[in-house]
């Protein structure tokens, strides 16, 4: 009974987002440009939820989130390209299924690499993971830049083109809702409490019988898988991938979203993701063209103001009602 109710509760926000956007665009209330920005915000939110799981909940400092995002983007784009090359993208259902498969491949590739980076470094304290992921990000950028010498389809420094546009509002809504539910259900379970206890005090967690290494690997891998899936959605949203979209500075963007929203706060991450993307794009419209680069002054100022006024993030300890745990309140 409860399971059925939960499925209903999960489908409801998905239907609201997808239906609402369809209604708005159908009546020309929203032009395709803003629909695309909305989709980007959803993609970024999925990725940021992943980083919040890593940094906000498990307390692991990662500086390579954009690299995992990129791995997911390239992997997914490549898989989808191979499918289209073999079967074409005409048939609706098979191509959508292939898209889902390519997203899974993107998430899986990111998770696999996260495991490889995490296994040696997560035995040490969190600082080492920061350094290792920073290095990983730089290495991946170089690899993306030179990928065409191994696989010409990846495009290397010229960028990867010819990706089919597959990402749509229902797809991003589906993954955003799924990501929110997964993170919420994880965090409010015994497994999530194990992750949070590592953030709070790793030694105390280990003396409470928690295999801290195992859960650090779990948290890190899961968070990076989110980034990988988000990367796949991104690739099929803009249909063009360039290595500069996945460099070190992009990792900082996600980090800022997570910190602005509040570490270990899901509501904050959601609001900050949408706020961040819409502010960037809104300023692009609001500012005269010659001042458009002032956006990069406005955003840091906003960050400084937030850190001074609300160091605990936008929401602090509070969550939207649907993100609270009703099991034990």
């Amino acid at each position: 009974m409860e399971t059925l109710k939960n499925i209903g509760k999960a489908l409801f926000p998905f239907a609201v987002i997808a239906g609402g956007m369809a209604a708005l665009t159908g009546r020309d209330l929203l032009n395709p440009y803003w629909v695309q920005i909305f989709q980007l915000a959803c993609v970024v939110a999925v990725s940021a939820l992943g980083l919040n799981l890593i940094y906000g909940f498990t307390g692991l400092f990662s500086l390579g989130h954009a690299a995992f995002f990129g791995v997911g983007a390239y992997t997914s784009a490549l898989v989808m390209k191979m499918y289209v090359g073999a079967y074409g993208d005409e048939a609706f259902l098979p191509s959508q299924a292939a898209f889902l498969g390519s997203l899974a491949a993107g998430g899986g590739a990111a998770a696999l690499l996260a495991c490889l980076v995490g296994l040696p470094t997560l035995r040490l304290t969190s600082d080492y993971l920061g350094i290792a992921t920073l290095g990983f990000g730089v290495i991946m950028k170089v690899l993306f830049d030179n990928a065409d010498s191994v696989l010409p389809q990846l495009g290397g420094a010229r960028g990867m083109t010819g990706i089919v546009k597959m990402t749509s509002v229902p797809w991003v809504a589906l993954f955003l809702v799924a990501a929110v539910i997964i993170v919420r259900n994880l965090v409010h379970s015994s497994y999530g409490r194990a992750l949070i206890s590592i953030r709070e005090d790793e030694i105390a967690a280990s003396t409470m019988g928690i295999d801290t290494f195992r859960y650090k690997v779990l948290g890190f891998t899961a968070g990076c898988a989110f980034a990988g899936v988000a990367g796949g959605l991104y690739a099929h949203l803009y249909t063009f991938l360039h290595p500069s979209n996945f460099d070190f500075f992009k990792s900082f963007d996600v980090l800022m979203i997570v910190v602005l929203g509040g570490l270990g706060n899901m509501s904050g991450t959601l609001v900050a993701s949408f706020g961040w993307i819409f502010l960037l794009e809104g300023l692009r419209v609001a500012l005269p063209p010659e001042y458009i680069e002032l956006r990069w002054v406005a955003i840091p100022l906003l960050l400084i103001a937030t850190m001074l006024l609300r160091p605990q993030g936008l929401f602090g300890f509070r969550e939207f009602p649907f993100l609270r745990s009703k099991v034990y309140r």
Partner: protein, 259 residues
């Protein structure tokens, strides 16, 4: 004999923090460790609970060698501890602090948590009930939704013990449980330790500097100095032991320096 420690040694660079420590605990005992600062008492706890690996020596819990095991495995086998400088999960509620201790016994798989299957709800409800009744023993039930960081100091100490006991240990190691408490609080703590030992049929070992507590409730004492056990015995014997007096107060001054 529930715990047997033999020739336990641990170096930090050139410092021998533990230098061939031997001791044992019988089931149900309450044993105190005393010794001057830096004599290796806390290091002993850290090695026994797996936070540090020993360089040499053995630790046997009910006959099974556990020296060098990771801390979570040792906790699962039944040795759990508290810390000198309280290590609570400060941003978690009182209830969640205790609930973390249930994790080694969790029965539903991760997938079940993500999909919130009936098994998840059943176990979580049961755990909540257990934790609530548990907090009542410690009279913390009214504070169960408060963050651990906001508790008064005495309650934080209590919560740390509650959390330790929630993992259902056989042996409880307390590292300076009375630190920072006033005499009336120490009196309550003494009663409390005796009560939980009875109720959870525990073996308790504690490090303490407050002689009133040590002499009042410990059945046996172990005295450490420079990483070695220098004396052991009944509290009344230890008080008169010249080696102990020397470790605490220094050697007697030769007479030629006197008046």
């Amino acid at each position: 004999m529930i715990l047997e420690v033999k020739a336990l040694t641990r170096h930090f660079g050139g410092v021998r923090a533990l230098d061939g420590v031997d001791f044992h605990l019988d089931r149900g005992e309450l044993v105190g460790i005393i010794g001057p600062n830096g004599s290796g008492k806390t290091t002993l706890f850290n090695v026994v609970t797996g936070i540090y690996r020993p360089d040499h020596g053995t630790v046997a819990l009910e006959g099974e060698g556990i020296a060098g095991w990771p801390p979570h495995e040792i906790t699962r086998r039944g040795i759990v501890r508290t810390f000198q400088n309280i290590r609570l999960f400060r941003d978690l509620t009182v209830m969640d602090n205790v609930r973390v201790a249930h994790h080694p016994h969790v029965k539903y798989p991760l997938v079940s948590a993500l999909c919130r299957t009936p098994a998840f709800y059943r176990e979580e409800r049961q755990v909540r009930k257990e934790v609530e009744s548990f907090l009542e023993i410690f009279s913390l039930q009214d504070r169960r939704k408060e963050l651990a960081r906001n508790l008064p100091y005495g309650d934080q100490r209590k919560l740390e013990i509650a959390r330790a006991l929630a993992s259902r240990p056989k042996i409880l190691l307390l590292d300076e449980p009375a630190a920072g408490m006033n005499p009336s609080e120490v009196g309550k703590l003494m009663e409390f330790i005796l009560r939980i030992r009875e109720r959870f049929s525990l073996t308790v070992m504690l490090i303490e500097h407050q002689m009133r507590l040590v002499m009042g409730i410990c059945e046996r004492l172990i005295v450490m100095d420079f990483g070695q056990v220098i004396a052991r015995g009944l509290p009344s014997e230890i008080q008169r032991d010249p080696r102990v007096v020397e470790a605490y107060l220094g050697e007697e001054v030769p007479h030629e320096f006197g008046p």
